[in-house]
């Protein structure tokens, strides 16, 4: 009898029910028919049901914690930057400060922000570390190449930033003296 009742309970959610059709693992909070599949729960006072609204970003392309999620994590990727970075310092600054893009300031100290993160090294005078552009590019693209336990997101490998975005960041960081 109980499985019936649980089926009722989950049926009314009507979310992951369709996830199989979308070829995604089960148990994800998604609406496979929506433009942004990732859904955020909204708690409605005095109601026994959750409301769902789209998240600001679709997160379904990366692995989740679900046991049914068999998609592999992207492995560390070695890059090769040859020649000058050809980056734009001003664009790099914008990417570093934008929470929706680089968000470097969440973990690193950068000029012009009074409340920086302290998880990563301060980047106030980055140029003085004396790193080559290619090293800096690799560190942003996929820091796991240098340190498998690196906390830093692999911005290139995971498709968070484009090649030009990373080049702009390299130029910005190398301008901090």
């Amino acid at each position: 009898m109980l499985p019936h009742l649980i089926a009722i309970g989950w049926g009314v959610l009507g979310l992951a029910v369709c996830s199989l059709a979308a070829d995604l693992p089960g148990n994800l909070a998604i609406d496979p028919t929506a433009a942004i599949k990732t859904q955020v729960p909204r708690v409605v006072p005095n109601s026994g049901r959750l409301q769902w609204k789209p998240h600001s970003r679709d997160l379904t392309e990366w692995p989740s914690l679900g046991y049914q999620d068999k998609r592999p994590t992207p492995k560390p990727q070695v890059t090769r930057l040859e020649g000058p970075s050809n980056g734009d310092v001003a664009r790099g600054l914008g990417i570093a400060m934008d929470p929706a893009r680089g968000n470097c300031v969440a973990c690193h100290q950068l000029p012009g922000d009074a409340w920086p993160g302290t998880v990563g090294n301060p980047l106030l005078h980055y140029r003085r570390y004396g790193h080559q552009d290619a090293q800096v590019y690799q560190q942003i693209f996929d820091a796991r190449v240098f340190n498998p336990n690196s906390v830093m997101p692999a911005y290139g490998t995971f498709g968070i930033l484009s090649d030009q975005d990373v080049r702009d960041l390299v130029a910005f960081l190398q301008s901090l003296d």
């Binding site: 009742l5 009722i8 989950w10 996830s19 729960p41 914690l65 046991y67 994590t73 409340w115």
Partner: protein, 302 residues
């Protein structure tokens, strides 16, 4: 792997499938996908005092009656109190948690007018007293580990009421039930059996990196406790579950598994549905890290 949550069950077949559906998550034959783990996977002491080996802030918050209020007033020291200064009885003001408590009481009394709702939830002779402190627990009927909110959903359905896991009404009932355990320490026995297995799976999940940023819970909450992520300071995972479901100004009422969803979203990871086996295992793991710490409801957070 075959589990109930999230799957549309075929009505006629569900009885036949029943046996298979209630199996604990079995490992399928296919190899595990490539995942990166936060190391080391320390041997956790399933007790709030286990924090001594990690952030070592336990000394600041272990006794909620004797908090050092100078820490609470200092943005650099605040985090050491693990937000316990926000829990009752320190904040006597009426907040959303009190309204939820009233809602939970009336719903509970209505659903339990025949006494079957309490029995379904596993209340013994002592009634609701102490019930909260022994959830998540192994459910003999379902033959798997369930959290309190998932059980409320199941028992509510038996009484003919939709109480989705994570919904306001579900969490309000959970809060009302937790109120009977106010001041009582959590006591989840993860030393043997299915709860131990769930604890171990939860511990592993806690260290498993996932999502767009490739973060695990442990990336911040084990390795970077006390450090700043802009305006936020990372706190310890120990002693944290005792104040859930919690009133949040942006969430009305937030169950622990809804909080997991928010954690996932904040770190760019696709969240799971409340009641998912992975979330329940995480709940077991974190509940065990609150063992010995008193239930404090109704609490509030910003």
């Amino acid at each position: 792997m075959i589990r109930i949550a999230g799957f549309p069950l075929v009505w006629g077949a569900s009885t036949l499938l029943g046996l298979a559906l209630v199996q604990p998550p079995a490992l399928s034959a296919e190899p595990a996908p490539y995942r990166e783990m936060e190391r080391p996977l320390e041997t956790y002491i399933p007790h709030a005092s286990g924090d001594r080996k990690f952030s070592n802030t336990y000394r600041y918050w272990k006794d909620p009656k004797n908090l050092d209020w100078r820490l609470a007033g200092n943005p650099d020291e605040n985090w050491k109190l693990n937000w316990k200064f926000m829990d009752p009885p320190f904040n006597q003001a009426i907040h959303g948690g009190h309204f939820a408590l009233d809602r939970g009481e009336s719903l509970y009394k209505f659903l339990n007018r025949g006494g079957s709702f309490a029995a379904c939830l596993g209340a013994g002779k002592g009634g609701l007293k102490g019930l909260r402190t022994s959830y998540p627990r192994y459910d003999k009927t379902l033959k798997r580990v369930v959290g309190l909110e998932e059980k409320i959903q199941i028992c509510g359905a038996i009484e003919g009421r939709v109480l989705e896991n994570g919904s306001y009404d579900n969490s309000a009932i959970s809060l009302y039930i937790a109120g009977f355990s106010k001041g009582m320490p959590m006591r989840i026995d993860v030393s043997k059996g299915p709860l131990k297995e769930a604890f171990e799976r939860g511990r592993r999940l806690y260290h498993t990196r996932a999502g767009r940023m490739n973060f695990a819970c442990a990336t911040c909450h084990i390795h970077n406790v006390g450090k700043h992520l802009r305006g936020n300071t990372v706190t310890t995972p120990f002693g944290d579950v005792v104040h859930f479901p919690v009133y949040r100004t942006k969430y009305e009422l937030q169950s622990l598994q809804l909080r997991f969803m928010e954690c996932n979203l904040d770190t760019g990871t696709q969240p799971l549905l409340p009641g998912s086996p992975a979330y329940t295992d995480l709940e077991v793991f974190l509940s065990a890290l609150s063992n010995g710490y008193a239930v404090t409801v109704p609490s509030e957070r910003d």
